[in-house]
């Protein structure tokens, strides 16, 4: 039985290391004092409430939401057909296309942001918001393609042929037969893309202008200036939000197999 205990201890320590800090940050945000300490100086909800009143947090939260939702939708619009083509057609240069589409995962984000700033925003007059939108779309695209591909590969291709022989057009077969059966994969791709985009920092680092900042960037600059517990409170809220999303996604989609 000793090996059982060893195993429990190892898992326990690892989980404490991975998750413990969040518990601490939740408590640190509950502080009644004006500075970050642990254990907190008294208990109050004032920092949790303050987060909602900080104007820049509200603006950057809205921008991050916008990017995460619409960037991911755009990535799915580009990515679903690509995933479909890769899994169902014998297209030429398939490997090259796969590599190109997957590249944003491997290329460090900060370089992407800088490159877009220098060659799209400055010379071509793209707005920072547009550049951010394009960058986030490209960044989420590989995840969209990967997750949708894996659910397409679990779906037999002869179903579409059966639909075509019953009178469907190729697109009709996709809409009527394929899409309903990869729904949960698409939803999982959306959630993964949303979370990736929302939490993304390096890409957005250079692509920030006056009044245009994503939430994580805003948090970074806020914590440089102030040492009050509001960032802890905000972090705790974001973590809580993620936990809920993941919990629901896991419950309904078996999300963790797509990560």
């Amino acid at each position: 039985m000793s090996s059982k205990w060893t195993s429990r201890i190892i898992i326990g320590i690892t989980l404490t290391f991975l998750i413990g800090p969040f518990l601490i940050i939740i408590l640190a945000g509950l502080s009644a004092g004006d500075f970050m300490t642990f254990p907190p100086d008294g208990i109050s909800l004032k920092w949790y409430l303050k987060v909602f009143t900080v104007e820049s947090f509200r603006a950057s939260f809205a921008l991050s939401m916008f990017l995460a939702v619409f960037g991911t939708i755009a990535a799915l619009i580009l990515g679903i057909p690509a995933a479909y083509a890769i899994s169902r057609y014998d297209i030429p240069y398939a490997e090259t296309i796969k590599t190109i589409v997957a590249a944003p995962i491997i290329v460090p984000g900060i370089i992407v942001g800088l490159a877009l700033l220098r060659y799209l925003v400055v010379p071509l007059g793209f707005t920072v918001t547009l550049a951010l939108f394009l960058a986030h779309t490209a960044l989420v695209l590989p995840y969209a393609v990967r997750v949708v591909s894996s659910s397409l590969n679990n779906l037999r291709g002869d179903m579409e042929e059966a639909a075509v022989l019953l009178g469907c057009s190729r697109i009709g077969a996709f809409m009527r037969v394929v899409l309903p059966n990869i729904q949960s994969g698409v939803l999982a791709a959306f959630i993964l893309g949303f979370v990736t985009s929302f939490n993304q920092v390096p890409v957005s680092l250079f692509l920030s202008g006056p009044g245009v900042r994503t939430l994580p960037i805003d948090m970074l600059s806020y914590m440089e200036m102030t040492y009050d517990p509001s960032v802890a409170a905000l972090s705790a809220l974001l973590a809580f939000l993620s936990v809920i999303i993941v919990f629901v996604a896991e419950k309904f989609l078996g999300f963790s197999r797509y990560v």
Partner: protein
């Protein structure tokens, strides 16, 4: 498999063209800029960069920390993955969920927690002073140790997940069988588990190494300007000095190393087998 390849290409091309034009093209331009000094093609940008001691320090530090984080996470990852894989189905799913969970949480939030823990008035220093080990708080924040801890926490889940998925393919009774055949635990690990989970280790190792190497948030929050790493250095060069040549050089280094690590680890795996 449909035969109409033109149709297939029409479906796949928008994504590829989008990425190529909006992503690869600007990056290619940025990288080529490092080879141009005063409008001429030259390697001077690289030579200048390499000659500065600060840059050298940052370069080696980034490599060292990324390597250390990858190795540490491999050790912890094996122990942890092995324990998880031996749990029964329901518990395994739960624990796996808890390991995946941090990946979904904002890295800014994840890293910020360490300020509370490692800061001058943080838990660790409270404990040290409380235990009488030191009279004054010791500086942990803004040291390589802090960055190391932050990176490890950030990337350990990736290693564990990779190892678990490769261990799931282990034939059920190989470990018991090799124990019965008289192998020690060390032999079981080096002769059985390691070769069979090599792919997971390579994947996890690549993810953790390149992730750490190209990290921005952790060194920015926990290292500050005292413990610069490649990405924070890049940011500083651009923001403080408008130095796009250095930026291009660092970008090249980051990209080459990311792809290089990928290829190298694959090679190592191939040679071992």
């Amino acid at each position: 498999m449909f035969q109409n390849n033109r149709e297939g290409l029409a479906l796949a091309l928008p994504a590829a063209v989008f990425t190529a034009i909006l992503f690869l093209l600007p990056i290619g331009m940025l990288l080529s800029e490092a080879f141009q000094v005063d409008g001429h093609w030259s390697l001077r940008g690289y030579l200048d960069f390499a000659s500065k001691p600060l840059n050298q320090t940052v370069f080696w530090r980034s490599l060292k920390l990324a390597g250390l984080v990858a190795m540490t996470s491999a050790v912890i990852g094996y122990a942890c993955a092995f324990c998880i894989i031996n749990l029964d189905g329901k518990n395994r799913g739960r624990i796996f969920g808890l390991i995946v969970l941090p990946l979904m949480i904002s890295p800014v939030a994840r890293t910020y927690a360490w300020i509370v823990i490692l800061g001058r008035t943080g838990i660790v220093n409270d404990a040290i002073i409380g235990l009488g080990l030191s009279d004054t708080p010791i500086r942990i924040l803004f040291t390589e140790t802090a960055v190391f801890i932050g990176l490890l926490q950030l990337f350990l889940p990736l290693m564990i997940i990779s190892l678990i998925s490769s261990m799931e393919n282990l034939p059920k009774d190989v470990i018991a069988a090799s124990r019965v055949l008289g192998a020690s635990w060390l032999q079981v690990f080096t002769k059985v588990i390691l070769p069979l989970t090599k792919d997971g280790l390579v994947l996890g190792g690549t993810l953790v190494f390149t992730g750490s190497l190209t990290a921005y948030i952790t060194p920015a929050i926990l290292g500050g300007s005292k413990v610069l790493m490649l990405e924070t250095l890049l940011y500083q060069r651009v923001n403080v000095a408008n130095d796009f040549v250095s930026a291009g050089v660092i970008a090249t280094i980051l990209i080459v190393m990311s792809f290089g690590a990928n290829i190298l680890l694959k090679r190592i795996a191939a040679i071992r087998s």
